[in-house]
């Protein structure tokens, strides 16, 4: 299956809480496969969250972020129906983007 990003954004009062689960191996480069060969490092470097096109969080990740990373944060503002954008780029230059509306 293609690289996926699951996003869950909810608003309560002034605060919008965003949770995201990103499908990515986040290989650290320190782990060997069954054949004893090092699995090369492969991890997301930059992940960006936007609300109505404005950046609300930039994450810089390294190989020590867990496989299929999870992140949860919140920001002020945001209404039900507003689009939340998520995009990432990894150390191999692959990228993925998605968007979801605030519930």
């Amino acid at each position: 299956m293609a690289n996926q990003i699951l996003v869950h954004a909810m608003t309560s009062g002034d605060t919008t809480t965003v949770e995201a689960l990103v499908k990515h191996p986040m290989d650290s480069g320190f782990v060997k496969d069954a054949a004893g060969k090092i699995i090369p490092a492969h991890y997301i470097e930059v992940i960006e969250f936007t609300h109505m096109g404005k950046i609300v969080l930039t994450g810089y990740w390294g190989p020590a972020v867990s496989k299929n990373p999870f992140i949860k944060f919140s920001f002020q503002g945001g209404k039900s129906g507003d689009p939340i954008g998520v995009s990432w780029v990894d150390n191999k230059g692959e990228t993925a983007t998605t968007s979801a509306n605030i519930m």
Binding site: L6, E19, L21, N68, F70, K72
Partner: protein, 278 residues
């Protein structure tokens, strides 16, 4: 009147006629569940589906955080897509299962009178593939685990309902599973029960040993130590290896019967797979 009398006499004499070794799954299940309820009086029956998390606050706190966005979610989504993808003959998995495969995972493993064998959900998925001209999938990991995860998710909360029909072969399969469960094997001389009954709730190195009761309810499972999904058979293989015993084949009769016995012991507990564990 006379007939009724004979019938009565038969029911009365039946237990006497049956030797003590005659399998009695219902009585076994009552004793099995009763053992754990007595051992851990604070835990209600339904809580057993949470396995090791009943025994460590720190672990259950971490688990609750992880369950905010469960790591098996991708598997459920992928599984749903695979489940709904048509075979070349135009049919889907839904055509092979009662109720189109939705909300039925709690009834597996099932005894198949035609073949005289136990059929787990994974084996049923593979049978469906073969019936539609497709190759079998691995029973341990990958797409089959994803499809199982999706199908199981549609049974969320339904009481586990494994049936052992009055069929000598079904009873024999159950009994074989029971024997496998309690038999010590491997160089370390452990049975399934050594860890998951007698030492349930205790620590083995850093981990809490899950009680056998409720253990099957959370499968398929995302284990952090695997880093992906696995089926109950994958766990059987892992457990055998841990006691230094050569694992059986994933579709072996031994593993089918073991799953039959263990899941039957969980009858009445809410289906809670897919699950997440350390």
């Amino acid at each position: 009147m006379r007939l009724a009398f004979i019938a009565l006499a038969l029911t009365v004499s039946a237990p006497l006629a049956q030797a003590a070794s005659q399998p009695d799954p219902a009585a076994d299940m009552k004793a099995f569940q009763g053992y754990f309820l007595k051992q851990f009086p604070k835990l209600p029956l339904a809580a057993y589906v949470n396995g090791p998390y009943n025994f460590s606050k720190s672990e259950s706190d971490q688990w609750k955080q992880i369950m905010e966005f469960p790591p098996y979610q991708f598997a459920v989504d992928d599984g749903k897509k695979l489940f709904e993808t048509k075979f070349p003959d135009g049919k889907t998995y839904a055509s092979c299962f009662p109720n189109g495969g939705i909300g039925i995972a709690q009834n597996y493993p099932m005894f198949d009178a035609k073949t005289g064998k136990v059929v787990t959900l994974g084996i049923a998925i593979n049978r469906c593939r073969v019936a539609n001209g497709q190759k079998k999938l691995k029973l341990t990991v990958g797409p089959l685990a994803d499809i199982s995860a999706y199908m199981t998710s549609t049974s969320d909360g339904k009481p586990i309902n494994v049936v052992i029909p009055h069929n000598p072969k079904a009873l024999a399969a159950y009994e074989a599973g029971k024997e496998y469960f309690y038999t010590r094997r491997g160089q370390l001389n452990f049975s399934c029960a050594s860890c998951h009954v007698q030492a349930a709730g205790m620590h083995l190195r850093g981990d809490v040993l899950s009680p056998a009761l409720g253990l099957t309810a959370a499968f398929p499972l995302y284990r952090s130590s695997w880093g992906d999904m696995g089926t109950l058979v994958r766990r059987f293989i892992g457990c055998n290896q841990k006691v230094k015993s050569e694992p059986s084949k994933p579709d072996s009769t031994a593993y089918r019967d073991l799953a039959y016995f263990m899941t039957y012991m969980d009858n009445g507990l809410p289906e809670s797979g897919p699950g997440a564990r350390p």
